[in-house]
């Protein structure tokens, strides 16, 4: 394991992208920073700019409007980076499957930009904070 990956596992900074979510997953993500879960213990920090980020937490179904921006944000993220699809919508469009405004599940949008992107899925509506921590740990352990 190279030192780059080792250091990345020790301090994954996340950037939160809302690609048309109903705000439910977003609230659960912010829960991770509260005293009960406190992910800063593991060095996880919410940052304000994709250029600082190591992981993109994407929530929402990926609407046609948001897909363009999502690809742009992915291009702006410094590599290596991991994309997390948070929630049922981001993983597989959920109840919006086949709707007129949906550009596809998040992984499809990201793969159009970069076929080799590392994508992790955390299903749930919304996923519990524990599930998100578990997802992050699993994704980092396969890096």
């Amino acid at each position: 394991m190279s030192w780059k990956i080792w250091a990345l596992k020790k301090s994954p900074w996340v950037f939160h992208v809302n690609a048309g979510a109903c705000n439910n997953c977003d609230i659960e993500i912010v829960d991770l920073l509260t005293p009960k879960f406190d992910v800063e213990r593991f060095g996880i920090k919410l940052v304000g700019s994709p250029r600082h980020a190591d992981a993109l937490l994407v929530t929402g179904v990926g609407t046609k409007q948001a897909a363009i921006r999502l690809r742009e944000v992915y291009r702006q993220t410094a590599k290596p980076c991991v994309v997390f699809c948070i929630g049922a919508c981001a993983c597989g469009t959920g109840i919006f499957e086949g709707a007129y405004h949906v550009a596809g599940p998040v992984d499809k949008i990201i793969k159009e930009e970069d076929p080799n992107a590392i994508i992790a899925y955390v299903p749930g509506c919304p996923p519990k904070p524990e599930a998100m921590i578990s997802g992050v740990v699993k994704a980092l352990s396969v890096l």
Binding site: S11, P35, G43, G48, R51, P80
Partner: protein
């Protein structure tokens, strides 16, 4: 100082300052976490962060002025490390020269100027707003900071050398205490901590001035922020609290004073909401300015009539 010790000093001073700074930035995060009933990061967290950023890709925006964009973090860090060498030199070997407090004041502006240059070279609208705020913030706090040092210079009878100033503790007088309070708030603004993190404003500007930096360049900014956490409280200790010793109780006492400064800064950081830029300007110019005018008057009267506590 003997020759081997001297060589050791030059070898150790720069990495030592950076390591101390990273530990100080861990203290900031840990104490903030404790204030919020969280556990907080492990002690090596800032080291992991810097190591990780060093290994990441460096992205440079297409429209950016590349030379300035890449040189700015180096200039900022270099200025701070130069200042730290001056301060350690004065503390450890007593090597000082006339007017070094003026040089120190100039060197302290350098990181902020580099930040302005770097962020305005990055061609990002968010960074541009951050730049304009940082500029206004510098204009607000520079004047009170210099006035606070003038109070100290008056109190110590016109001394312009830091080594001579560090022998006295002007904080134990009314004017010195007022000047210290104002200087502490100016240091808070220089560090870019909440109430004065107006330029970095994570919530509305998305880390503002640093927005376009990534990878190793961002790591350099993180290092210069960490170094600032060593240099600025150390400078306050030397100017207002009677400096460090090099051995025994004076050394322990000096470390205690440094930690006290750091904890004061952290507590101010954790108990205040962010100001708007116009509020910050009004605060520094009107309230701090008036306080310092009062302090300078007191110090001059005290000096003229020979009353030490005034």
């Amino acid at each position: 100082m003997s020759v081997p010790l001297n060589v050791l000093f030059w070898v150790v001073v720069i990495p030592g300052t950076i390591v101390l700074g990273l530990v100080a930035s861990w203290i900031v995060r840990k104490v903030s976490a404790l204030v919020q009933y969280r556990v907080g990061p492990p002690i090596f967290q800032p080291f992991y962060d810097v190591a990780k950023l060093m290994g990441k890709e460096i992205l440079i925006p297409e429209q950016a002025q590349q030379t300035v964009f890449m040189a700015a973090p180096l200039v900022g860090l270099a200025g701070l490390l130069l200042l730290s060498i001056m301060l350690w030199r004065i503390t450890i070997t007593g090597t000082a020269y006339l007017g070094d407090i003026v040089v120190a004041i100039y060197l302290m502006v350098l990181p902020s100027l580099a930040l302005i240059l770097g962020s305005s070279a990055s061609a990002s609208p968010h960074a541009a707003v951050g730049t304009s705020r940082e500029m206004k913030l510098i204009m607000s706090y520079e004047l009170p900071l210099v006035l606070a040092f003038i109070v100290v210079i008056i109190k110590t009878g016109g001394q312009l050398s830091l080594a001579a100033i560090a022998e006295r503790a002007p904080i134990f007088s009314i004017s010195g205490f007022l000047a210290f309070l104002v200087a502490l708030l100016c240091v808070q603004a220089k560090l870019g901590f909440v109430p004065f993190d107006i330029a970095e404003a994570e919530t509305e500007l998305g880390s503002g001035v640093l927005m376009e930096y990534s990878g190793a360049l961002l790591a350099l900014w993180k290092l210069s922020q960490a170094t600032m956490l060593v240099v600025l409280p150390l400078f306050l200790v030397m100017v207002f609290l009677g400096g460090f010793g090099t051995a025994g109780w004076p050394l322990l006492w000096g470390i205690g004073k440094y930690v006290l400064m750091l904890v004061l800064v952290i507590l101010i950081k954790n108990t205040n909401p962010r100001m708007r830029i116009d509020q910050a300007m009004k605060f520094f110019w009107v309230y701090c300015g008036l306080t310092l005018a009062f302090a300078i008057t007191l110090a001059t009267i005290g000096n003229y009539c020979g009353i030490g506590w005034l």
